[in-house]
Symmetry: C2
Subunit: 226 residues, 2 copies
């Protein structure tokens, strides 16, 4: 634990476990995003686009180190902790393998957007150090702007794309909700933190509504119905 | 052309073409190395190893930007120039797809080692600015040490691995030589630079011998016969 972390908070084993779970989920998510973006890079229509995707993939990997360090400071085995999220992530990816460049772009933006909003909501309940670490890890490195520009241009060129990608966006949300439920069902500490942080079930409802609103905003930015 | 580049050298169109070809080959090689290391990362026996490979992949991508900038300064389309090397690289990779984690590790070290030694030999004939750019792009970021340590440990645990990987190393050299010959056959500018730089055919022979010696050193470092 760093000197500035709240020692009282971390003396609570349930709180510590929730923080380890969250940092590990974000970390596994970054490694997983690297893998997915490296796969998507293969679908790129040009070498320049391939380099853009490979660069985004690389930026994800650059973010893992600080999470790993913090997990070690918390006395956790960072790889064991991250590994425990593998099944959830792999199930999500297995059910949402993009069939082309467009689906890959939308998935990276919409899927990561949903996950990141969820992590940000949980981060709000945490001590300032952990919160800052999580928020820094989730900062966009220009990926969103690239996807929005490309997808809008793609739809302008072929308007039929919009219907297909709107359906794809809905499928991504459905799978994301389903996998998040599965993961939370196995993580008492995170569920408790979520309920304690939001106050009650109506607080959880409001949180879901905020995440849904932001998802709809992203779909609008892409020029798609949500 | 930057202020410090030799204007006399670049007023020679054959020299300029050779430099464009070399920078483009190194650049395509880095994008290709990213793709290959990202594939190898899937074969990693642990999440920690996967992160190491993903980190090496990311470092390759970080090196492309300066080559791209220089290609633009030379008035070349950087992506068209790099793309012209695709067939050669893809043919090499198609003939040397690793079947497991060990073959992937050896290929990354032995294959990149051969290519980098070849680029370094050519770079020695170039103006100082271009030479420095190429040499910086080829600097090892810890990859070699990781591979040597892992492969030696792997052989210590299963001595039969040594025979299989020694054969694999020979196959990699054979394919590398074959593809380099194909690429050079289409690149008059590079071939001329090579012959002019080495002086004559016996100079070319000495160059090949230096590259072969360094390859044998790498195989010895791995604990393998070359």
């Amino acid at each position: 634990v760093t000197a500035s972390a709240d020692p009282v908070a971390f003396s609570d084993p349930v709180y510590r476990e929730a923080v380890v779970d969250l940092l590990a989920a974000v970390g596994y998510g970054e490694i997983s995003a690297f893998e997915r973006l490296a796969e998507d890079a293969k679908l790129a229509p040009s070498l320049e686009d391939k380099l853009v995707l490979a660069t985004f993939a690389s930026q994800q990997i650059g973010k893992v180190a600080s999470l790993r360090t913090r997990l070690e400071e918390l006395g956790a085995d960072p790889f064991a902790a991250m590994e425990s999220f593998r099944d959830g992530f792999e199930a999500f990816h297995a059910h949402t393998a993009p069939s082309d460049w467009w689906e890959g772009l939308v998935k990276a933006y919409v899927g990561d957007g949903l996950a990141n909003d969820f992590y940000r909501e949980i981060a709000a309940f945490l001590d300032p150090d952990t919160r800052d670490l999580v928020l820094t890890s989730l900062e966009d490195t220009g990926h969103a702007g690239f996807v929005v520009e490309r997808v809008r241009a793609g739809i302008a060129e072929d308007p039929r794309l919009a219907g297909r990608l709107a359906l794809w966006g809905r499928r991504l949300v459905g799978e994301a909700i389903s996998q998040t439920q599965h993961v939370l069902a196995d993580r008492d500490s995170l569920t408790r933190l979520l309920v304690a942080g939001t106050g009650d079930l109506s607080g959880v409802g409001a949180l879901i509504e905020r995440i849904t609103d932001k998802h709809a905003e992203r779909m609008r930015a892409l020029g798609l119905d949500s």
